[in-house]
């Protein structure tokens, strides 16, 4: 209590200083007067009495100082004085301050922005209750499309019974439904979930309720929970939507609640529904079919259980499944289950890119800190005179050190503030980048932890800078003062530090440039990849007239839908400028979700060889011509290839090579195969190969072409449909007219992905372009800072050596020789930096192998290009101060010495 009171009094004391000082002086004077009077009373003469009293007082000024220290909080007052002083000093050198603040702001801004993404997407704890106990189970197999084959209901049942370290298993089936909104039909991505899903995931409702076990099974009303993202995007966060009914796939579904914000894997979800919306999911086929794998699985670890233990148990269950049901697990495909912490699974696509960006940002920070350090060192030399004067006036080394620290903290703080402003701008751009890689992009924000990171960064830079300045040891100032030095320049040790910093800047710039070069080449290579289509003047769109449920439950639906597709084709073909219209699904350059095992008649698999798998695509006779996909052998489909005619297929080149290596596939017979056919409307009868089509880059420009088997649009149920439209020019201009036609013929069908081939291609290249652009801008920034750094250090060296150069010139050195001398000094630094940078990049390039395409990590062209570019910029940076040195006039220099 007493302490608190005293502290408050002292804080108040800071503000009442002047009045209190007057009061104190009066009091001390009174004391002195009384003492003098007493001395006189004792018989001293007035002069002696006064002298004696003053001696006894111990010094009035010292007393005032001592009382002042007791009155306020001297520490705070000193700091305030330091801040005032530092502000004054910085204002006196505006150029220095501006350059330092901007340089720091760029580094701090880049780091803050990218750290906010890394933190939001990779590091932050999941929003799920106990999210660190959630694990994602990935079922995978060899071969195309085998990365994630999902689980079937019987498999989930086995896992549930056999792995005690999994306390609960949440399942969700990704599914799309057609939502009949007021303004037209849209497709939404939903998850069909069981009643315990949210409890196991640890998710709570924001509004309303979530599904519960009573929502399971047939004969219950369909209900849906909107994800926070979709609710905000589609309904503007209107709480009135809870309790209303939406028309999904023709049934009324009640919105029972809004889910808290939470990421889904592998893709975003718009809503979560109970199973009753899809009779298929409740059918015996689904519930009993071991190969009918449509379910994603996230499990919660039991208390005390670890990921490794769970993985061991799951592997044991899986091994038992494989031996009990050999027909469901083709041994050649090596089915396996991985148990991955859910947070890692959510971050896996983003991880490499983000750490690369974080690394690049860290490099920018190193360069900007090195550059600022150099500037500070140079300024420090110019300030030595001032420091000596302050020391002579009684400032101790500690006080000076504190003063420098305050100054640097102030600079770093200003840099941080500006950096955060830059980061605020950058986060928007980075979020749109992260959205391509991570379902957690909406969690990116500049929160307290990110700002804490910023403050820590700025603080460490300030500390670093303060301890770079070389002050003498306590008491060592005497020698400085005695030396009367007003320029203690060119002390070798410090100079070496400056040169070292320049070398670091050059080396780090080279590393960043090399990274930028490799990524730019990747992007260019990717843009050069042929899509497999002969032209980009092609417009594609997808329109699903039937939902899977309608298709599976209504026998007449298929013919009805095909009639509409044909009408669309005819009417679009009649539009002006349209050359060809094809029908098929999926449209070119989009991957197919249907991948099935295939076999060739008479073909025998080698022992342990995986059963070949192919994507199923449909096409009508004009499809290949409209899309510009070449028919390499045989013929395209004909109008006669109908249900009642012989079953025919066209293979793409990859599948033809896989099934019939070295043979002519035409006339051979192939069939879909595998247990899973039982759950599909696709028959396993033999089909005759009538043609071979060229490969197309359906899985993205950087993916290997997948094996594809085309079936005639007329010989397959209309599980989806799309139009492929070729025009003589400006195909993008047809979008509105085509959409209008489609909307009129199928008003209830959602229209998706209305894009030209050029746009699809661009979409595939875009993330890489953004990557390359970001790293390249970091590289560019680094090079500029480094070039300014070299020029600055050389200019400083020239000004420190003015006298020496003057002497050299007066002794006969000509201008060229002086210029060469300075160039040599800079060139040496540049060369060392280049060598270190190239060596470092060669070592580090392997780390980003996964982000490269068509370029080796040690691509010689890139490295040579980067080295030449850096050398050229560096030489220009050296040339400016060298030129200045050569123009030194010896006469003037000698006189001023």
């Amino acid at each position: 209590m007493r302490r608190v009171r005293a502290l408050l009094a002292r804080i108040a004391g800071i503000f009442t200083r002047h009045r209190a000082d007057d009061d104190l002086r009066d009091e001390l004077q009174a004391h002195l007067d009384m003492e003098i009077a007493e001395n006189i009373r004792r018989g001293m003469d007035p002069v002696a009495a006064r002298r004696q009293a003053l001696l006894a007082s111990g010094g009035l000024t010292q007393a005032v100082e001592a009382v002042r220290d007791q009155r306020g909080l001297p520490w705070i007052e000193h700091v305030a004085a330091d801040v005032r002083y530092a502000l004054r000093a910085l204002r006196r050198s505006p150029a220095f301050t501006t350059v330092v603040v901007i340089t720091l702001a760029l580094g701090i801004g880049a780091n803050t922005a990218i750290f906010s993404v890394v933190h939001g997407v990779l590091l932050k704890p999941l929003p799920h209750q106990g999210g660190d106990r959630l694990v994602y189970l990935r079922h995978s197999a060899d071969g195309p499309g085998g990365e994630n084959v999902l689980f079937s209901v019987p498999e989930v049942r086995d896992l549930r019974g056999g792995a005690p370290s999994l306390a609960g298993i949440a399942e969700y089936c990704p599914w799309t439904v057609t939502y009949q909104a007021n303004e037209g039909a849209v497709r939404i991505d939903v998850g069909l979930v069981t009643g315990n899903f949210f409890e196991i995931m640890g998710l709570s409702p924001l509004l309303g309720r979530l599904t519960r076990p009573s929502d399971d099974g047939p004969g219950v009303p369909p209900v849906m929970v909107l994800t926070h993202e979709y609710w905000t995007k589609r309904f503007g966060g209107d709480s009135g939507v809870v309790g209303t009914q939406l028309l999904l796939d023709g049934s009324s579904v009640t919105v029972i609640g809004i889910l808290q914000p939470a990421p889904f894997f592998p893709n975003r979800m718009d809503a979560l529904l109970n199973m009753v919306i899809s009779p298929h999911h409740l059918s015996a086929l689904m519930v009993e079919g071991r190969t009918h794998r449509m379910t994603e699985v996230v499990a919660r670890l039991a208390p005390g259980a670890g990921v490794e233990q769970a993985e061991t148990e799951v592997a044991a269950v899986h091994a038992r499944m494989q031996s009990d049901f050999t027909e469901a697990y083709d041994p050649g495909s090596h089915y396996r289950v991985a148990v991955i912490p859910f947070k890692e699974a959510l971050g896996e696509r983003a991880r490499l890119t983000l750490w690369l960006l974080m690394g690049a940002a860290a490099f920018v920070m190193i360069i900007s800190a090195a550059s600022v350090a150099n500037l500070t060192l140079m300024r420090g030399v110019r300030r030595e005179h001032e420091l000596v004067v302050r020391a002579a006036l009684g400032a101790g080394v500690r006080r000076l050190r504190r003063l420098l620290l305050v100054e640097n903290l102030l600079l770093a703080f200003l840099g941080a503030v500006l950096g955060v402003v830059i980061a605020v701008g950058g986060v928007g751009l980075l979020t749109s980048l992260a959205e391509r890689y991570s379902p957690r992009a909406s969690e990116i924000r500049l929160d307290a932890i990110v700002l804490g990171f910023t403050v820590a960064l700025a603080g460490s830079v300030a500390l670093l800078l303060s301890f770079l300045a070389s002050l003498p040891k306590e008491g060592g100032f005497a020698s400085w003062i005695l030396a009367g030095a007003h320029r203690l320049t060119a002390r070798l040790g410090r100079h070496r530090l400056q040169r070292g910093l320049v070398v670091v800047q050059v080396a780090v710039s080279v590393v960043l440039l090399a990274g930028a070069g490799l990524l730019t080449r990747t992007m260019m290579r990717l843009a050069d990849v042929s899509t497999g289509l002969r032209t980009e003047e092609v417009l594609t769109l997808q329109v699903s007239i039937l939902t899977p449920t309608q298709l599976l439950s209504d026998p007449g639906a298929d013919a009805w839908a095909k009639e509409r597709y044909d009408r669309m084709r005819d009417e679009v073909a009649a539009l002006p400028g349209v050359v060809d219209v094809g029908l098929g699904s999926p449209t070119p350059l989009r991957s197919s979700f249907v991948q099935l095992d295939v076999k060739a008649e008479g073909g025998v698999l080698a022992a342990g060889e995986a059963t070949p798998r192919a994507e199923l695509r449909t096409a009508n006779p004009d499809f290949f011509r409209a899309a510009g996909i070449p028919i390499l052998e045989g013929r395209p489909f004909a109008t006669t290839d109908q249900w009642d005619a012989g079953m025919v297929v066209i293979l793409n080149q990859t599948l033809a090579d896989r099934l019939f290596p070295g043979e002519d596939p035409l006339g051979k017979r192939v069939a879909w195969t595998g247990d899973v056919l039982r759950f599909t409307p696709i028959s396993g009868e033999w089909r005759t190969v009538v043609g071979v089509a060229g490969n197309t880059q359906d899985g993205g420009l950087d993916a290997e072409p997948r094996p594809v088997m085309f079936m005639p649009f007329a010989q397959m149920l209309a599980i989806g449909g799309g139009l492929v439209i070729r025009a003589d020019s400006n195909v993008a201009g047809l979008k509105t007219a085509v959409t209008r036609v489609v909307r009129r013929i199928a008003p209830a069908a959602p229209i998706e992905n209305v894009m030209t081939v050029a746009q699809i291609k661009d979409q595939s290249v875009a993330p890489r372009r953004l990557n390359a652009a970001l790293i390249a801008s970091f590289g560019g920034l680094a090079v500029v800072i480094a070039a300014v750094g070299i020029a600055g250090v050389l200019a400083f060296s020239v000004s420190a050596r003015t006298g020496e150069i003057g002497i050299r010139m007066s002794l006969g050195a000509d201008r060229g020789r002086v210029q060469r001398m300075i160039l040599r000094e800079g060139g040496g630094l540049l060369a060392v930096g280049l060598v270190l940078g190239v060596a470092g990049s060669l070592l580090g390039a392997g780390l980003i192998r996964g982000l490269l395409f068509g370029v080796a990590p040690h691509d010689p062209a890139t490295f040579i290009g980067v080295a030449v570019l850096m050398a050229a910029i560096g030489i220009v940076a050296c040339w400016i101060p060298a030129h200045r040195a050569a123009r030194i006039d010896p006469a003037i220099t000698m006189r001023s010495q």
Partner: protein, 114 residues
């Protein structure tokens, strides 16, 4: 600093409070004289020691101050003990006695048993 003997901050506060209790409200000079006399001039207080201590006591609420005329009709700042100051004095005196007794117990019978 006093040459003869350094005064510890804590003990000086105790001496000041003791002086004010005995003599009533008093100015800085009077306090200094009294402490020096009581110590038989073994303690010498300079201003830089005395006045920060007085200020500290004021900040802690142990004393109040008032400008008044002194006995010699001079204007001086008088320090007076508050209730809190009296309590503080009592507590510190008790602690001091306890400590002194304790130390005395260790120092006095130097060799009691062989």
């Amino acid at each position: 600093m006093a040459k003869k003997s350094d005064v510890k901050q804590g003990t000086l506060a105790l001496m000041i409070l003791g002086t004010l209790e005995v003599l009533g409200p008093l100015h800085g000079y009077g306090i200094a004289r009294r402490i020096e006399e009581t110590s038989k001039n073994r303690l010498k207080l300079n201003y830089g020691t005395l006045y920060p201590a007085l200020l500290k006591l004021e900040q802690e609420g142990c004393v109040t101050t008032e400008w008044r005329r002194s006995e010699n009709n001079r204007r001086a700042k008088f320090y007076a003990l508050t209730a809190a100051g009296r309590k503080q004095l009592a507590r510190e005196a008790r602690e001091w006695h306890a400590t002194a007794d304790l130390i005395a117990a260790f120092l006095a019978p130097r060799r009691e048993s062989p």
